[in-house]
Amino acid sequence: MTWGPYIAMYLFFAGAGAGAFLAAVTAEIYSKEGFKPLIRAGYLISGPLVAFGTPWLLLDLGMGLRQPWRLIGLLNNPGSVMTLGTVVLSLFMPVAFLFAIMELNWRWPLGFINRAVAWISGYRNVLLYAGTSLAFATAIYTGMLIGVVRGVPLWNTSILPALFFISALSSGLAAAVVFAVVFPMEERRLMAEHFFYLNQVHSLMVVVELIFVFSWLFIMAGLSVSSGQSVSLLLTGNLAIWFWFGVVFLGIVDPLIIYVWEVILGRPLVGYAMIISDTSVLAGGFSLRWLVLAAAVPPMLY
């Protein structure tokens, strides 16, 4: 396994950061008032999540820490997805941090910082368009990076960016909800009916994810010898326990159970039930990245 858990961390946190931003933007567009805690949480964690993800890539680089000046070379080949991703991430991170600073609304000790934040806030709409486009690009990039790899038939398919995109959305939403619950706003909290609605949206995402995962694996099972071996590794082989527990149970079944439970009860479960559902979505999102990387099998040569 050439690319291991470090790259999985990088892909997961970059995707979750982009997803948190998109969750906040969506909540802001469709409902300003009730979802204020979610919007706030999404903007606050988006930049830090991406910033937490990128060092894992640097740690994986053979030369990244020994001779860091070489990293500028990452921009050399516009035909490489990694170069494009570097551009996208380096633009998205500062924009996401600007939104976090605007959301914090602190009074900084130095006057010029306050004036700068006020000036930037004047261009919030422009930044919102830029940030949204960059968040889309970031989330799709995490799948494109490995989707173009011809040396691994399991990855080399166009459904992979779509799968990583929907997984990034659900991870980002989950991270924002967990943050909103753990660090609630003083004046306003997420209300029961909001949780119910969020769970509904989340269940829909998870069902789409389920469809993507299984249609992808089903087609890959018969596409070539090596992609079939990858699928066997995931479904019945050495990785099966992690796949069924991590990706399927934690990432997909668990949030669905909680949602169905709520429908049966006729009332939303708030607080810890929400945290359980969303942390398990996060664990499922990381498991997906890690297992997709771990299940790589090169093509048969003869």
């Binding site: 050439t2 030369m63 020994r66 070489r70 080949n77 990694m82 040396g151 040569l301």
Partner: protein
């Protein structure tokens, strides 16, 4: 311009791995760091089974996936067709290692950069044959210019109809293998 490649006559290969060792000596590789590997292949169905050897190394592809994905352009294709890594600008992201369908890029943890068959670029520009070609006791390896219709390698390709490894992947590999009768 030249386009260098190899014809490897697998019907002559005895699996002695002299090519592997000659390559390691030429490139000062570490033990276990293998740029030219010899795989042992079992074929057929009982009771008519057979065993043969298959060597695999960088195919110096016409359309190299490693160079396409390399973010720094450290991996590049020379005008004579040889695909090389520039270890002075490589950041060690391993994208080429995962992308090569032939698994011909070998990661070196100590150096922090990958390596692979250079088709003995420093030797062939001086007119000397690659180390693996000279080392092969069965004379199974023929090096030459694929663009020159009169070269020995081009004649061999016409006469022996060798196959390439997975040309369907669109890589345009330049290693030719004579398989003989099945």
């Amino acid at each position: 311009m030249a386009k260098y490649g190899l014809v490897i006559d697998l019907t002559k290969c005895v699996g002695c791995q002299a090519c592997t060792l000659a390559c390691q000596a030429q490139n000062e590789l570490e033990p276990g760091e293998v740029w030219v590997r010899v795989e042992s292949v079992e074929e057929g169905r009982f009771p008519t089974v057979s065993r043969r050897f298959q060597t695999v190394q960088c195919n110096h592809c016409d359309n190299p996936p490693c160079a396409q994905v390399c973010p720094t352009k450290a991996t590049h294709k020379r005008r004579d067709g040889i695909v090389l890594v520039d270890n002075n600008i490589c950041i060690g992201c391993k994208y080429c290692v995962v992308t090569c369908p032939y698994q011909a890029r070998v990661w070196n943890e100590d150096r922090g950069t990958p390596g692979g068959c250079k088709l003995c670029a420093t030797r062939v520009t001086r007119g000397v044959q690659p180390a693996c070609v000279l080392a092969c006791p069965a004379k199974a390896r023929t090096f030459g210019d694929l663009d020159d219709p009169d070269s020995e390698i081009s004649r061999l390709i016409v006469r022996k109809r060798p196959i390439r490894l997975r040309p369907d992947l669109g890589t345009g590999p330049n290693m030719y293998y004579v398989r003989g009768e099945k």
